[in-house]
């Protein structure tokens, strides 16, 4: 029963990924604009040179055999060899792990995504972990002191933090941090510096990380706090909490042994969803702090009609969201015996 549950979930995840692959491919091709024209910003480019670029990237081939409106080559519907279409080549290359070559940099998309991905995971991972710990802690405190000034203060702070525009908070922190604490204005590491040792390098990077991480933490902390508080307040009014009190357990034991495990269920969902989107990076934060992450890469690629880069990034994003959800569902079944039984 356990294995079939797991297999069913995995099959669904795979099906969703296949669907996303198809959607990703067409999504960018129905956008108006020509990758060759927007990629090479030179009006004097000859027709022959343009054609050469098209051939190099396979853009001369029909997108798919039956949709004439999507095809640059007018040869009538359904007469094209389906194995000679862009879609077929894309899927075939994908199956061999080849995400294509960026139109803009001529480098493999997988390499480019890889570089950006780790920067994003470093920044957003640190921010998420801090936000989860602080948000849950604050939420537990507020729920425990519900309807007291402590609760009120924590609520006010969280609502404020949650509703602040990310870019605005980033700019304010950037201003304050660089003006009063002499923190770097952007980037990931001070350029052109020969660091005497590994520690100096790490500490330079940590100084660069501080402000964007702080921004990210504040933005997400509010959400976690509010959800933790409201779930826990609900759980604490449940009958089994009264039973636990009647059994002579003290406040701490009730919280630890009876309330938290029940309250964690919605938290797991929201954390998993956010972790999935982590890979997309916080576009706003990465832009404000010039952090070389994935969010910024997506933003740039849209402007350049860099289809392979966009497809790769969106695929990565979709896969991470799908797997984060899968992880949440599996974790759910560990936390809640009622789900395990189904």
């Amino acid at each position: 029963m356990r294995a079939s549950y797991l297999l069913g979930k995995l099959a669904w995840a795979l099906f969703t990924i296949l669907f996303v692959i198809c959607l990703n491919f067409f999504l960018f091709r129905v956008l108006p604009g020509d990758p060759v024209r927007s990629g090479v910003r030179d009006p004097r480019l000859t027709q022959e040179a343009q054609q050469a670029i098209r051939e190099r990237f396979g853009l001369d081939k029909p997108v798919i055999n039956c949709f004439e409106s999507l095809n640059p080559v007018k040869s009538g519907p359904c007469l094209i060899n389906p194995f000679e279409t862009q879609f077929f080549l894309y899927v075939r290359n994908l199956l061999t792990g080849d995400l294509g070559i960026s139109y803009h940099t001529n480098r493999p998309v997988s390499t480019m995504l890889g570089e950006r991905l780790w920067n994003t995971i470093l920044l957003i991972g640190a921010g998420q972990i801090l936000a989860i710990i602080l948000g849950m802690g604050l939420g537990i405190l507020a729920a425990w002191k519900a309807r007291t000034p402590i609760d009120f203060g924590a609520l006010l702070f969280s609502l404020l933090a949650w509703s602040l525009p990310t870019f605005w908070l980033g700019i304010i922190l950037l201003f304050a941090g660089s003006r009063y604490f002499n923190l770097p204005l952007g980037g990931m590491i001070t350029p052109g510096v020969n660091f005497p040792g590994a520690w100096a390098r790490v500490s330079d990077m940590l100084r660069h990380m501080l402000l964007p991480t702080l921004t990210y933490t504040i933005v997400f902390l509010g959400e976690y706090m509010l959800i933790m508080r409201s779930t826990l307040v609900d759980v604490l009014s449940e009958d089994y909490i009264l039973t636990a009190r009647a059994k002579g357990l003290n406040h701490f034991q009730i919280l630890k042994d009876h309330a938290l495990k029940n309250a964690m269920l919605p938290m797991v969902t929201i954390i998993a969803l956010n972790l999935g989107f982590t890979v997309a990076g916080a576009v706003q934060i990465e832009t404000v702090f010039s952090w070389p992450g994935l969010g910024g890469a997506i933003f740039e690629a849209v402007g350049r009609r860099d289809y392979p880069m966009l497809q790769g990034a969106f695929l990565l994003l979709a896969v991470s969201v799908i797997f984060a959800n899968l992880g949440a569902e599996l974790l759910y079944s560990v936390l809640d015996p009622r789900i395990r039984a189904e």
């Binding site: 449940e238 009958d239 089994y240 009264l242 039973t243 636990a244 009190r245 009647a246 059994k247 002579g248 357990l249 003290n250 042994d257 009876h258 495990k261 029940n262 936390l335 809640d336 015996p337 009622r338 039984a341």
Partner: protein, 341 residues
């Protein structure tokens, strides 16, 4: 069925010689409300519970029964305040204890069985784990094998197979959950078990089973039980004495024979008239017209006056005191004024 009044009479007589376990004196509980005057949920309540005694606490919904029980264990919701009185358990006033001392009394000395309808068991922990938690908390010098054996023995006592201890509440039927709750209530050998409408929301067959189980356990273990119910049949079968509450105050308090055979308060009389008696020829059942009073909007005089068939002028102006009719029979009604001893 044998006549319950005969058997319980002899039982009641023997109970009266036993030591007093719980002595509740003049207990008053309010629910405070920021915008209005406090709701008087319980007023000047007195009763005693002896070792091995089963006390029935009877009254309509909303008359303060559950509030009184939660008050005894100091488990009232935040708005609930004990404004007056004392609760002596084996001579110790529970209301004067610190919270830590009270935590020690809960479940070890006084445990409580909640309504079957309530979600009183934690859905994400196994039944055995939840019973074991109480054992480990109050009987700390036991190794895990001993705790395990005790859990199995307790489940066996209520008719649940020991190997079901590792299952979760949702894998139990409603009746089994209530049995498990009873097993949990007995986990630390308490002197007193409060049963707060333990059979509500169970179907009639299961109700009968649970009641039989509780009756047997009471005799076997010599428990003192406070049985909160609005089922007078349960009271007749299980209880030694009966406290009839109305609108947060005592209407009548006596042993079970007196309540059934010679009730003096009009409310008790009306309650009994509203209940079928299979030993007598079929008569007409009556209901008491009207509703119990809202606790934040009490009538100025006797709280039963608006519904009382024998009401007269004084009832609407003054609250009747509690008249002692004999050694163990009290009632609060002006009709009994001259009979007080």
């Amino acid at each position: 069925m044998s006549d319950p009044s005969v058997s319980s009479h002899t039982h009641a007589a023997s109970v009266n010689d036993r030591p007093v376990l719980l002595d509740v004196r003049n207990l008053s509980i309010d629910y405070v409300n920021k915008d209005a005057s406090p709701a008087q949920a319980v007023r000047e309540l007195d009763f005693t519970l002896r070792a091995g005694e089963v006390l029935g606490l009877v009254g309509e919904s909303g008359c303060g029964k559950s509030t009184l029980m939660l008050g005894l264990m100091r488990l009232l919701p935040p708005a609930g305040r004990i404004v007056d009185g004392a609760v002596y358990f084996q001579g110790r006033d529970l209301l004067a204890l610190s919270e830590a001392e009270m935590e020690d009394v809960r479940w070890k000395n006084i445990s409580i069985i909640f309504q079957g309808a309530m979600n009183a068991l934690n859905p994400v922990r196994t039944i055995g784990d939840q019973i074991g938690e109480a054992i480990r908390l109050h009987m700390p010098r036991q190794d895990s094998a001993a705790v395990d054996a005790r859990i199995r023995r307790l489940l066996d006592l209520v008719g649940i197979a020991g190997n079901r201890k590792d299952q979760y509440p949702h894998q139990y039927s409603g009746g089994m959950r209530q049995r498990a709750m009873i097993a949990m209530a007995l986990a630390c050998d308490p002197q007193i078990v409060i049963a707060d409408e333990p059979t509500t929301a169970l179907d009639v067959m299961i109700q009968a089973q649970i009641l039989e189980l509780m009756g047997n356990l009471q005799k076997e273990l010599g428990l003192s039980i406070i049985f909160v119910t609005h089922d007078l049949g349960v009271v007749a079968e299980l209880c030694d004495s009966v406290l009839v509450m109305y609108g947060g105050v005592t209407a009548e308090y006596a042993d079970v024979d007196t309540i059934y055979n010679a009730p003096r308060h009009p409310y008790t009389q009306e309650l009994l008239r509203a209940f079928p008696d299979i030993t007598r020829p079929a008569g007409k059942l009556t209901s008491i017209p009207g509703y119990p009073p809202r606790l934040d909007d009490l009538p100025p005089g006797c709280r039963f006056a608006p519904r009382c068939p024998q009401v007269f002028g004084r009832c609407r102006q003054e609250m009747p005191p509690i008249y002692r009719l004999d050694d163990k029979h009290v009632a609060s009604c002006f009709l009994l004024e001259g009979e007080s001893v």
